[in-house]
């Protein structure tokens, strides 16, 4: 039976951050994975966004598109000091387009280690009988 719920959580990894997400669609699933990473850094209730950033995400596979989304979050945090408090993802003919509603990270108190890169080790984003599921390990 197709799933109607969507969500995310952190799972165990010895040294780094591993998250998984699930949703009825690929795009929602990727957005939830982004939310899981952000939650690990600043908690579940970031303040309202002050700006938005849109980015095209490219990749040969759904897993690579997931990696591209998290990569973008890492890049925007390091170079512009911004973190997404909410993320919308839609499909495009060449991949995905993400709309990040951003908050100023410099004003936030971190609650966990800071993400620095996306590992390809056991990176998965796939459709199952119940809907979409993905998992990603993030170097912190």
């Amino acid at each position: 039976m197709p799933r109607t719920d969507a969500g995310h959580r952190a799972t165990a990894h010895t040294a780094d951050l591993r998250v998984e997400a699930w949703a009825p669609t690929r795009e929602e699933c990727v957005a939830h994975a982004v939310a899981a990473v952000v939650e690990s850094v600043v908690g579940a209730d970031p303040p309202p966004a002050t700006t938005t950033v849109e980015r095209d995400l490219a990749g040969e596979t759904d897993a690579d598109l997931l990696a591209a989304a998290i990569d973008e979050v890492v890049y925007l945090l390091e170079t512009r000091g911004l973190l997404p408090s909410a993320t919308e993802v839609r499909a495009t003919p060449t991949g995905l387009r993400a709309r990040f509603a951003m908050v100023d990270a410099d004003a936030l108190e971190p609650v966990g280690a800071i993400p620095k890169a996306v590992s390809l080790h056991r990176l998965r984003c796939e459709r199952g009988p119940e809907g979409w599921w993905c998992t990603v390990t993030v170097d912190v």
Binding site: A12, D16, T79, A113, I114, L120, D139
Partner: protein
Amino acid sequence: MRITEETPYRFRVEREGGMRVPGIVFASRRLLPDPAADESLHQVANVATLPGIVVASYAMPDMHWGYGFPIGGVAATDLDEAGVVSPGGVGFDISCGVRLLAADLDRDAFEPRLGAVMDALDHSVPRGMKRGSVWRMSDAAKLRDVLEGGACHAVETGHGVKRDLLRCEDGGRMADADPGGISPRAVERGLGQVGSLGSGNHFLEVQAVEEVYDARAAQVFGLRPRQVCVMIHTGSRGLGHQVCSDQVRVMEKAMRRHGISVPDRQLACVPVESEEGHAYLGAMAAATNFARVNRQLLGEAARRAFDSGAGCGLDLVYDVSHNLAMVETHEVDGRRRRLCVHRKGATRAWPPGHPDLPAELADVGQPTLIPGTMGTASYVLTGVRGGQAFHSTCHGAGRVMSRHEAVRRVRGRALRDDLEAHGVAVRGTSWKGLAEEAPSAYKDVTDVVDASVGAGLCRKVARLVPLGVVKG
């Protein structure tokens, strides 16, 4: 997986499937990872499948679950047998490493000044999520000088003294760096991070020499009992991470052309002697030079804090990388061979008499710096003749507990109070970040060092204990 105990400190992972060589794990029974909770033993077997690997896929006593390679993994491939280089064998944080500086001050004289020095460090060491760096690079051309010149460039421009370079691996500058091979995105990430600690397990600690095991080596290194020191653990920051990410993507595509397949995407690799192999080594060398400048600039920030807070200077003991691939010559099966030695969470430990050592260290071997955990100890080791695993040893305590679990079990504020009650001053950036790095999340660094010595990888020179911790 079949594992045979060869000695109390050496376990053999027998060849099976696509393994070209066996796995050799240097550990005690107690330190061997639990395969149910940690995949590092399987990763040792995966590394053994790499084309051109020689002798064994090694793991050090602090091994734990990484990506592609285990953390604590060492693997050498033969350049003349189409041996490969894998960015996963270096890791995201290229040239992550440790720098140790020593003050001309004993802990008894220093203790009244600890608070002032810690406050100065708290103010001057950029770290955590906030952007900021000791050395602000105004444009990519200036960063290019850093990537080419490493610590030599930093010293030439007034950030340090010439003697510092004698106490860095490769004289502070890795040759054959190719800044042109660094992507614009990596440059952008690096511009604002020259002289910044980062977060996670990176730290700056004020320490004291608690015990000296080898008085002569300690004297040559510049260490004496009760002496105050500063240990800095950080790497190439976002620039190095981006280089690794970029190069893994390039190699994944190139592997098909080279007819290589690997059991884990993060093990993507190409022959060292290929266009993509040379490109990776050039970019890796540039990121390594960035890491050395990063630690050089943080060392300078520490010197200023000690000057203002304690009225004394700091001399560099040594600077090592524990995430690196180096082309080295080693004897294998009676023949000298050019090998690409990957050390992923492992430290090179040249023995006494090694030709690459500076003259003043030649009689005692390479200082090998092993950071422990916040509440315990760190070690200074040195290499031994007949050392194993291409003269490699451990790199730290090694995690056993996930960050998730550490935060569930430990309260950051309580940990800080406990450390302060034991005389360790703490300057952190977040309570949860502090809890993630709780000493209980790691193996006992003394067990790790004892296993390394027992396995014939190194010998002990000194043990250092923390007086103050600056955490990212």
